[in-house]
């Protein structure tokens, strides 16, 4: 019962957060350069006074600002994110079309970064003070300092241009007419470089965090007790230390998952990956503000959703968490 109440509160908080972000979004639309109507009129390809006045009424821009805000929020709630005049399509449809590619990319990068990050961090903690530890630390520090987009470009340079091992452009081979397993294999090959470059930065974060958390937990009394009881070192490491050290890493990963979608703007731009990030980049180039703000709202909503899922998973994994 208490858990249900907790979940409801969290969901409600998430909804409030999304509405607040939408409000900020509304204010940003108003702050966008140029009167929205003349922008709209320009985008529609006409600008005489009568048409502008008609647009003003049509979009409710002659209403008081609070009414406009209410109308906007009402639209957001019903998932109406406006219309992109550049692409001649509703913003929501453009985003939904691109969503699977972004989810595939960020999802793979998320799994890869967590897998490699925790493995390297655990290895580093187990061999603390040795050359293994130092080299993992150095590698993590370097990836932590490397701009995503530059790493992506260098990966293309080495693996696509020089070695010609992997494709460095797009989602699948254009016009190959592949189906079924062959298509999946083709997409996987295209996915590898973008997912890896996106994952490496976060891998560095998780590796450092896992190492620090494991060394912390290893000092705790229950670990000493386990050692005194004669539990084998390998088992202490896996069942006692790693398990407890993973909790903060998982929390951080949940927060970062939302941020990854932001980072995907850079990776998708370099690899011409047809996701929301690339959509945002195109919107930037074309000064398509309704599309840009729509994509931002969806990205933020997804981040809130990921945080929520992490919170719920966390309470299930760790029974010590207070449900408040």
């Amino acid at each position: 019962m208490k858990r249900l109440q907790f979940m409801l509160t969290r969901v409600l908080q998430g909804l409030v957060a999304i509405l607040l972000i939408a409000t900020v979004n509304f204010m940003l639309v108003r702050a966008a350069p140029g009167d929205p109507v003349s922008v709209l009129a320009g985008e529609a390809g006409a600008s005489d006074a009568q048409f502008v006045a008609q647009l003003r009424t049509q979009f409710g821009l002659d209403q008081p600002i609070t009414t406009q805000l209410a109308t906007y929020l009402g639209k957001v709630v019903t998932l109406d994110l406006g219309f992109s005049y550049r692409q001649q399509q509703p913003v929501l449809k453009l985003i939904v079309d691109r969503l699977p590619a972004t989810l595939l990319l960020t999802g793979s990068a998320f799994v890869l970064s967590l897998l490699f990050g925790v493995t390297l961090g655990a290895l580093s903690a187990r061999r603390a003070g040795t050359w293994v530890d130092s080299s993992i630390t150095v590698v993590a520090l370097i990836f932590y300092a490397t701009p995503l987009y530059w790493l992506a470009l260098m990966a293309v340079l080495v693996f696509t241009v020089q070695l010609a091992w992997l494709p460095g452009f797009g989602f699948s081979t254009v016009g190959s007419g592949l189906t079924g397993l062959a298509l999946a294999w083709d997409i996987a090959q295209h996915l590898l470089l973008p997912a890896l470059t996106l994952a490496l930065f976060y891998m560095a974060v998780y590796a450092r965090m896992t190492r620090a958390a494991m060394l912390d937990v290893a000092q705790m009394d229950f670990v000493k007790t386990a050692r005194a009881k004669g539990v084998k070192p390998g088992r202490i490491l896996r069942a006692h230390v790693l398990r407890n050290a993973l909790l903060p890493v998982v929390t951080l990963a949940g927060i970062q998952a939302g941020g990854m979608i932001g980072g995907a703007v850079l990776t998708e731009t370099v690899f011409a990956w047809p996701g929301i990030g690339r959509l945002m980049f195109d919107a930037l180039l074309q000064r398509d503000y309704s599309l840009l703000l729509g994509s931002f709202l969806v990205t933020a909503a997804m981040a809130v959703l990921f945080n929520l899922i992490t919170d719920l998973v966390y309470t299930l994994v760790d029974p010590r968490i207070e449900l408040t």
């Binding site: 701009p147 470009l153 939302g258």
Partner: protein, 281 residues
């Protein structure tokens, strides 16, 4: 001369020492920029697509328009450091103010401010920075503002937790009894005692801010009047296959600078941590 304990702990960290040397070089290059750069970063001074180490005076080659890459990188150091430092200062001002108020007064003010902070933290920071700079048009001012807006929440949380514990200490009670005003207690009693972790966080924030700035200018959201590392890599993106050097060198500059700042941050953390004394770590 006896070394101060801070410096002794700092120099024990070899990485931090290397970091501070690299950082000092970057700062000197940035300060002396106009005097050591041989060319105007925007000037088309040689044939385009000149390979590095082929023409004297153009050690790192030229870009697609025949601009000198080395000169561009020297000017890029100025803008990177400037934006990194200023946006960190602005973020610190916002974060320290909100965190101090929340931690000192507690109660309703605290929970309201922390809710506000949490919402900010939930928004993907890079996406928010893109939107802000795009809407308010790219300029040094808008970039600094955007980076500050996405970077202050961790500061606020850190300062709040420091204030929550320090608030209970005896010297604060003594100051209260002595009749000191609230702003005075916050600024002269508690804040100086909370400075160590804030300084460490600030050095890491400068590194993140430089990465953010370079990512924005890579996407074409840099100040159009300033040559920057991210812009150079961004404009080399489409000619990567023909001209690797245009993207490689400015990127290396970013990696080295950010790495140096992170190492210095770790060194500061060691140096300010008095508990490390007498321990070999």
């Amino acid at each position: 001369m006896t070394k101060s304990p801070f410096w002794r702990r700092f120099t024990r960290n070899k990485g931090a020492l290397a970091g501070i040397v690299v950082l000092a070089i970057v700062v000197v290059v940035a300060l002396l920029g106009p005097w050591i750069a041989t060319n105007d970063p925007w000037g088309m001074v040689q044939q385009p697509f000149l390979r590095p180490w082929t023409e004297p005076g153009f050690a790192l080659g030229t870009d697609t328009l025949g601009r000198d890459i080395l000169s561009g990188m020297i000017y890029g150091a100025r803008i990177s450091l400037l934006i990194g430092a200023v946006s960190t200062v602005v973020a610190l001002l916002i974060g320290i103010t909100l965190g101090a108020v929340a931690g000192y007064f507690g109660g309703l003010i605290d929970s309201a401010l922390m809710r506000f902070t949490e919402i900010f933290q939930a928004v993907p920071s890079f996406a928010l920075a893109i939107v802000l700079v795009a809407i308010f048009q790219p300029s040094v001012g808008s970039i600094v503002t955007a980076i500050a807006i996405v970077s202050w929440p961790p500061v606020a949380r850190l300062v709040r937790s420091e204030f929550l514990t320090l608030r209970q200490r005896d010297f604060v009670q003594a100051a209260l009894l002595a009749g000191q005003s609230t702003p005075r207690i916050i600024l002269t009693q508690i804040l100086p005692n909370a400075m160590s972790p804030i300084i460490v966080m600030a050095s890491l924030m400068v590194a993140t801010a430089i990465l953010l700035e370079s990512s924005l200018s890579f996407l074409g959201l840099g100040d159009p009047n300033q040559m920057s590392w991210g812009y150079m890599v961004g404009s080399a993106r489409t000619v990567l296959r023909q001209a690797w050097w245009m993207a490689l060198f400015p990127g290396l500059a970013i990696v080295l600078t950010v790495l140096a700042l992170n190492l210095v941050g770790e060194g500061l953390s060691d140096g300010l941590n008095t508990r490390l004394d007498g321990r070999t770590k």
